[in-house]
């Protein structure tokens, strides 16, 4: 109805009136408004603040700021041992996670897609369940598992006649403990993604390989594995980005002082401690930007690795 009125007397109305008389013109903006207004205030504006804050330092908790130029970045890169620890832990944790979880996830996925298996969805659910648990719960369970006096790990070791291990007391055990918890939490999740990827492989490819006389091993190695490359790429890119943001399990398991001999820092626990333990807001923001930079670099690197493996000869160039 409204649009007919507009067409009758278009010249007498201003552009604004015409805009509001046609419902299809203004409703889209009304629909996107709830999200975009909160988005602008709580995501976009903090992002702009972050750009400035990297070059500032807060004077205590007062809300006053001091311009320090590049000093935050220089300090983070040259004069902060916790940054080195965080980077090392990130690399060990990420590489360790992928190296332990992916092969097992692939084998589990093969087992759970085998045609003769009964009650497939039950096994799939059981392996997947740990990945929906809260990080805090995983941290607490991890703490119980590696408890010196009444933990699962030591009980198992003692049952086989070994000595009790003081898991929390030594820096060398930090990464292995985290890796075991991460394995338990994420392996099934990866397996489910691989299973989804396998179900996308056409039956005719598999059947053709059967006709050609491929053994199950050859089929898994030379047909299924290469076709799952995009899924592996997705898993390893998101897992690397996720372990860069690793917070809950280290925080719950290792506490606020960085674990044994301060060797358990991760970027997120470091940032949290700097900002809200020592109130160095500007410095913590600068570390945040460095973490963003690392995230971009490792993502681009992985995209390259996974693309170039598709064509071997390109890799040489």
């Amino acid at each position: 109805m409204a649009s007919m009125a507009v067409s009758r007397s278009p010249k007498k109305r201003s552009a604004i009136q015409r805009f509001f008389s046609d419902q299809t013109k203004w409703t889209p903006y009304l629909f996107v408004a709830p999200f975009f207004i909160t988005f602008a205030i709580f995501t976009l504006y903090p992002m702009l603040r972050a750009v400035v804050m990297g070059f500032q330092e807060s004077l205590g908790y007062t809300g006053k700021w001091e311009w320090v130029g590049l000093a935050n970045f220089v300090e983070a890169l040259t004069n902060d041992p916790r940054m080195g620890t965080s980077l090392k832990n990130f690399v060990y944790f990420t590489v360790g996670s992928l190296a332990t979880q992916l092969p097992c996830a692939f084998l589990i996925a093969l087992l759970l897609t085998s045609r003769s298996l009964k009650a497939k969805s039950l096994w799939r659910t059981l392996f997947f369940i740990p990945s929906v648990l809260p990080g805090v719960t995983m941290g607490i369970i991890g703490g119980w598992f590696f408890s010196k006096t009444h933990g699962f790990a030591n009980a198992l070791i003692v049952a086989f006649g070994g000595p009790r291990v003081d898991w929390a007391g030594f820096a060398e055990y930090i990464i292995p403990r985290l890796l075991l918890i991460a394995f338990w939490q994420w392996m099934g999740n990866h397996a489910v993604f691989l299973i989804a990827g396998m179900s996308g492989i056409g039956d005719e490819i598999i059947e053709a390989s059967i006709v050609d006389g491929a053994t199950p091993w050859q089929r898994a190695r030379y047909i299924v594995l290469p076709l799952l490359k995009p899924v592996f790429a997705y898993i390893s890119i998101t897992a690397a980005a996720g372990s860069l943001m690793n917070f809950e399990v280290p925080y719950v398991l290792l506490g606020t002082d960085g674990g044994a001999r301060g060797k358990g820092w991760f970027f997120m626990t470091h940032i949290q401690q700097m900002a809200f333990g020592q109130f160095r807001m500007g410095y913590a923001t600068a570390i945040g930007w460095l973490v963003f930079f690392i995230a971009v670099v490792i993502t681009i690197l992985q995209l390259r690795v996974y693309e170039f493996r598709l064509g071997k000869q390109e890799e040489a160039s």
């Binding site: 013109k25 709830p34 096994w123 607490i140 925080y251 963003f292």
Partner: protein
């Protein structure tokens, strides 16, 4: 151990070559047994930790078995009792999670629909803005977000948790837009022809057709808000306003000279996990397939 041509005949039917049925059955038994054993090993420590929460405090424990040596619900009573009062934090979390999920899902549905199905100037700009900012990690945004909250006087205020949950859910917008793209445009056009206005269109056509997407996003949002530790830990400093995850983490770090603290924390961590587990059980039919579909695309 299969021979390559074993898969051709379906199981259970009379076959010319008899041993192959037996072989198929044997294979089924073997693979199912293997899957069952692996799954049991995988889930065993979890059963043990659940079992340990049903012990008495002075019971002699064996961490390797899920069966409690002296059955009692002592820790569960303590957890909701005078001293620890975890039900308070549970209620706080329920409030925040429900409010965040309701508002965020509505905002996502509205925006996702507009970005997918309506044409208006600036649409593509808005969408690329979301995707661009989506890439910024929590690490970079954490401290500035807190500063903005302090300037807005939203520290210790639940709106400081809820509103960023709405405006920060770029992934939800992205996913919802994908769902909305599947709604046939002809259906919308036909309803417009019949005289439906834009609001009726959204309410009567779009929402009923986007039920699966709304379910997935609401589930993800509920789970994310319930499970989150870092942001509520930073923003809420008032002990009485704490959410469940920060409350558990804090209790875990303050267990000084209290023999009950450790088992109660463990019990609370397990009770708190029931919420995401129930959500998963409720939504698992479409959960895995939806997410798997999202990554393939």
């Amino acid at each position: 151990m299969t021979t390559p041509n074993v898969t051709a005949p379906p199981p259970g039917r009379a076959l010319p070559v008899q041993p192959k049925i037996g072989f198929f059955r044997l294979q089924a038994i073997l693979s199912t047994a293997l899957a069952a054993i692996l799954a049991l090993i995988f889930i065993w420590p979890f059963l043990c930790v659940v079992g340990s929460t049903f012990n008495k405090i002075d019971a002699v424990l064996n961490p390797l078995t899920p069966i409690p040596t002296q059955f009692s619900t002592q820790f569960y009573q303590l957890m909701f009792g005078e001293k620890y009062q975890l039900q308070k934090y549970v209620m706080n979390s329920v409030w925040v999670a429900v409010a965040t999920t309701a508002l965020s899902t509505l905002a996502c549905a509205l925006s996702g629909y507009a970005l997918a199905k309506l044409r208006f100037p600036g649409r593509d700009l808005l969408f690329s803005l979301i995707i661009g900012v989506m890439l910024l990690p929590t690490a970079t945004m954490l401290v500035p977000s807190f500063i903005v909250m302090r300037d807005l006087n939203l520290v210790d205020n639940y709106w400081g948790l809820i509103l960023p949950g709405v405006g920060g859910n770029a992934f939800g917008i992205f996913l919802m837009r994908q769902f909305m793209l599947n709604i046939p445009t002809e259906m919308l056009e036909a309803a417009r022809m019949d005289g439906a206005n834009e609001f009726e269109l959204f309410y009567k056509i779009v929402l009923p057709n986007a039920k699966a997407g709304i379910g997935v996003i609401a589930t993800l949002s509920l789970r994310g808000t319930w499970n989150s530790l870092l942001w509520p830990q930073i923003l809420i400093t008032d002990v009485n306003k704490r959410l469940i995850m920060p409350a558990i983490a804090n209790l875990n770090q303050q267990q000084v000279a209290d023999v009950f603290a450790l088992p109660v924390v463990r019990t609370a961590a397990i009770v708190a996990a029931l919420v995401p587990l129930a959500l998963y059980a409720y939504s698992q039919r479409y959960f895995i397939s939806t997410l798997a579909g999202a990554i393939k695309g």
